[in-house]
């Protein structure tokens, strides 16, 4: 019992430490890659190739003045960034990063926990993640903030449906709600090959769910002047920012587990034990790179276009996909 507890606590500490580190460096990566896409350098001054930039940004955020608007709802205003970052970090608890390995004669699994309803847990937390954004905009008593919040709420509720429906076809193919088992069904054929449409839809809905370009409606610098976090400064703003990137990374990890075969190489090529974690990381990196790349490519959709896309295209497509998958799965079985 005690060693189990110690192992768990150590794992949690390691995973969250690494996660925060990765979150910090994703911001660096994003700025560098965006820079290169726009034929410029991006931050390359602080430290070698700008590698200390996240640290500098963190320090700056820490020492900036913390402003609370006079007519803000103080409690909710302070609570919102916390509500935003906690679910974002908690999602990582169920994500498997790799298989197990032996250490000091113990079998250590590369995940904090394996719940057999991991997917539902993720969807549930995704639902909670909305509150931070919604309440943040409302509490700061700012029209732009409120508009951003309302848009976020509507957008997230809409895309959560398509997201959930897309997941169902994956569940039908894999026959499990546990991420580990879903990964283990993909040793030969990744779900991305079995379910190309679902993969595509999940990618789009996922981007909309984490409010990433081209669906970054809640922020929409040009029209809403940064939307929900307009009044936030200092560490509170940094928390929103970190939550955003934590969401980005967890989305990449979830897609890796669901569609890209987790830590397995494609087409049944045997994966040596040592290579499993690097393979997983490589896939996550490719996805994160893709997210940055598409941010540098696509312009933001208009709000009504986003809603139309979600309800009139993605939802029916996801439903059709479930139907076809159901027919095929039944026919095969």
């Amino acid at each position: 019992m005690l060693d189990f507890l110690i192992e768990s606590i150590l794992k949690v500490l390691v995973v969250f430490g690494v996660l925060l580190f990765v979150v910090a460096y994703t911001t660096w990566l994003e700025r560098r890659v965006l820079g290169r896409i726009q034929v410029r350098h991006g931050p390359n001054r602080v430290g070698f190739q700008g590698l200390l930039q996240p640290l500098a940004d963190g320090l700056k955020g820490f020492f900036k003045e913390d402003i609370v608007p006079a007519n803000a709802d103080k409690i909710v205003y302070v609570l919102a960034p916390v509500l935003s970052i906690v679910p974002a970090l908690m999602i990582v608890a169920v994500i498997p990063f790799g298989d197990s390995f032996q250490l000091f004669g113990r079998e250590i699994t590369m995940r904090i926990t394996d719940v057999n309803v991991a997917l539902l847990y993720i969807l549930g937390l995704a639902g909670l993640g909305e509150y931070g954004v919604m309440l943040g905009g409302w509490a700061s008593n700012n029209r732009y903030g409120l508009l951003g919040s309302l848009r976020t709420a509507a957008q997230m509720i809409s895309y959560e449906l398509a997201l959930g429906l897309t997941l169902i076809s994956v569940i039908m193919v894999s026959g499990s709600l546990s991420l580990v088992e879903i990964v283990n069904t993909q040793t030969v054929w990744w779900n991305a090959f079995k379910q190309p449409l679902a993969f595509f839809l999940f990618l789009i809905c996922g981007l909309a769910e984490i409010n990433r370009t081209p669906f970054d409606m809640p922020e929409a610098e040009a029209e809403l002047a940064c939307g929900f976090n307009i009044e936030y400064s200092s560490m509170k703003f940094a928390m929103f920012f970190m939550a955003e990137y934590a969401h980005l990374i967890s989305l990449a990890m979830i897609i890796t587990c669901l569609f890209l075969g987790g830590w397995y190489l494609p087409f049944g090529i045997p994966t040596p034990g040592l290579l499993k974690f690097p393979v997983f990381l490589a896939k996550v990196f490719v996805l994160v790179f893709f997210f940055i790349w598409e941010r540098g490519t696509f312009p933001r959709l208009r709000y009504d276009q986003i809603m139309r896309l979600g309800w009139k295209w993605l939802m029916p497509l996801a439903l059709a996909n479930i139907f076809v998958t159901g027919v095929v799965v039944t026919a095969v079985a």
Partner: protein, 168 residues
């Protein structure tokens, strides 16, 4: 250990419930209710109901409460509760009755629970998992209620659109 966690969750749930009652601002009420729901989700987990835990977070905390918060924000009813609420005789009487009802609810507990045990033992759960077990029942024995529930949802959807849309 489990009991301690239960008490923490229970305390949060009751505090949230009281918060719903006492908060002047509807948003604060809604937030308290979300707190209650999340705590209840934790308690469900302690009661081996993983599926209910997940859909509690997803449906209640994620969807229903988001909708309520959305409407509160949309209508901007934040300052309308400012006037004093009269605590008339009827209300006090009602509260006394509510208290009595809690007592009545608690009475059968002392008598103990009678009922037929179902098939969901630890071994069954270990073999098939609660989600599988639940869905199997749902799609065989309880298929008709399930379909009725889906029709109910559809009716709710159509009703909500018909009511709230200005022009159909």
């Amino acid at each position: 250990m489990t009991l301690a966690i239960f008490f923490v969750f229970a305390a949060f749930a009751v505090l949230g419930g009281i918060g719903v009652l006492l908060a002047r601002n509807p948003i604060h009420s809604a937030l308290s209710l979300v707190g209650t729901m999340v705590s209840l989700a934790g308690i469900y987990l302690l009661h081996h109901a993983e599926f209910i835990f997940a859909i509690q977070l997803m449906v209640y905390a994620g969807a229903i409460m988001t909708l309520i918060v959305f409407v509160i924000m949309l209508l901007d009813v934040r300052h309308e509760e400012a006037e004093t609420e009269r605590l008339g005789f009827a209300k006090v009487f009602g509260m006394v009755l509510a208290g009595l009802m809690v007592v009545v609810l608690l009475v059968p507990l002392a008598a103990g629970l009678t009922g037929k045990p179902g098939g969901m033992t630890e071994e069954v759960l270990a073999r098939v998992g609660s989600v599988e077990f639940l869905s199997e029942k749902l799609f065989t024995t309880y298929l008709l209620p399930f379909e009725i529930a889906s029709v109910l949802l559809l009716v709710g959807l159509v009703g909500a659109v018909a009511l709230a849309k200005k022009r159909l």
